[in-house]
């Protein structure tokens, strides 16, 4: 989807080498020797499935995402490779080396009990509305000994101390861009950019957890051998430029403003923020969690 001249999709960001590099180590850390059936939860544009197929082409993957646009992007990508399954029946019967893509919520999975060997979720668990429900559903779908693996760049501790200012400055520059747009509109005799209130939650209510809190949550859901770690990944000017106008981000960060305007402001704010701080990248920590289903 495009809004004006700015790309508001997530695809360009997830195709970017930096984003791939941030996710690859997690996938490479998984023991796939006993893994055949994989659930790629909140699969987005299919990056985790891509990385998994690269390691083990015989996997039987089902990707699930709440967003039909993401499913369509993934379907085009895997369709071009001839590995797309048409439906669950075909996937169950003949899904080896293929992927089935379904629209749905990761906390209401289409799998039978203990049907899945590995459930992965790439950088999305922080947006699950009920994390306990999600963990319980993943546990139900996994076989005993199956693995749950996820990562997130949105947790308490994700900002390396001293780097928070960049993200704060980016948002403030985005607002300054908005103010400039409003000045242009005023000169043209137009009203300010309209804003609908109450389209997003209250400020700071992000529901982010600490690394320790995530470990406790996963253990509470009945998983064992829970391992957590953080890994630093660079957030560069180029990658923030790609993700800044993403519709899913713009509608939250600049809630209530028209998407086209919000995306433009966030996009144009990136260079201004990096320039102001005189840097081209900052490190950001990703949390990685793996656990075994009892």
């Amino acid at each position: 989807m495009q809004a004006g001249e700015v790309d508001v999709s997530y695809e360009s960001y997830t195709d970017h080498e930096e984003y791939i590099s941030a996710n690859r180590p997690l996938i490479e850390s998984i023991d796939l020797s006993k893994t055949e059936v994989v659930a790629d939860l909140a699969c987005g544009a299919g990056l985790m499935s891509d990385l998994l197929f690269a390691r083990k082409p015989s996997l039987k993957i089902c990707g699930i995402d709440i967003d039909q646009e993401q499913i369509d992007i993934s379907a085009r990508k895997f369709g071009r490779r001839g590995v797309l399954c048409p439906d669950m029946e075909a996937w169950r019967a003949n899904g080896v080396g293929r992927i089935l893509l379904l629209r749905g919520s990761a906390d209401d999975l289409p799998f039978a009990n203990e049907e899945v060997d590995l459930a992965v979720m790439g950088n999305a668990i922080h947006v699950m509305p009920d994390k306990d429900r999600f963990l319980a559903e993943a546990s139900r779908a996994l076989r005993a000994g199956g693995m749950l693996v996820f990562n997130s760049a949105f947790f308490v501790g994700t900002f390396v101390p001293g780097t928070e200012g960049l993200f704060n400055e980016w948002m403030m520059e985005a607002v300054r861009v908005l103010e400039e747009i409003n000045k242009e509109r005023a000169r043209a005799g137009q009203p300010p950019v309209p804003r609908a209130r109450n389209t997003a939650g209250r400020a700071f209510a992000k529901g982010w957890l600490t690394e320790d809190a995530w470990r406790a949550r996963v253990e509470k859901a009945g998983f064992i051998q829970v391992q957590t770690r953080t890994r630093a990944s660079a957030m560069t000017r180029a990658s923030l430029r790609l993700v800044a106008p993403y519709a899913g981000l713009a509608t939250v960060l600049m809630s209530g403003y028209p998407l086209e305007i919000a995306s433009r402001c966030l996009y144009e704010g990136v260079d201004r923020a990096f320039d102001r701080l005189g840097v081209d990248e900052v490190p950001r920590l990703w949390l990685e969690v793996s656990a075994v289903r009892q």
């Binding site: 928070e164 200012g165 948002m171 403030m172 939250v252």
Partner: protein, 98 residues
């Protein structure tokens, strides 16, 4: 002037910026905005409101680059809420710092 002497003037400006931010929101605020007013619980600020408020503060005090992240984050986590008084204290500390 010392920070203590400046504080009433700073708080007055902070309240003015908050009033400007919520000007057309139709909020029910008996007694108006005071030093005890909470940005989120009382004024229903969303994330973008916090940012617009911060930009308004910088404009009101003719300063750029104030480290608002020190006000909004503690130990890597976002705070639950912020009062006008806390914003004022932050500004008293930062505006007088060389």
């Amino acid at each position: 002037m010392t920070t203590a002497e400046n504080r009433p003037a700073i708080e007055s400006k902070v309240i003015a910026v908050a009033n400007e931010t919520i000007a057309d929101w139709d909020l029910d605020l008996p007694g108006g905005i005071t030093c005890d007013t909470r940005l989120i619980e009382d004024l229903s600020f969303e994330s973008i409101d916090i940012v617009q408020f911060s930009v308004g503060i910088e404009r009101a005090f003719d300063r750029k680059g104030l480290p608002f992240e020190e006000l909004f984050m503690k130990d890597g986590a976002y705070v639950d809420d912020i009062t006008i008084s806390e914003v004022t204290a932050f500004l008293c500390a930062k505006l007088t710092a060389v």
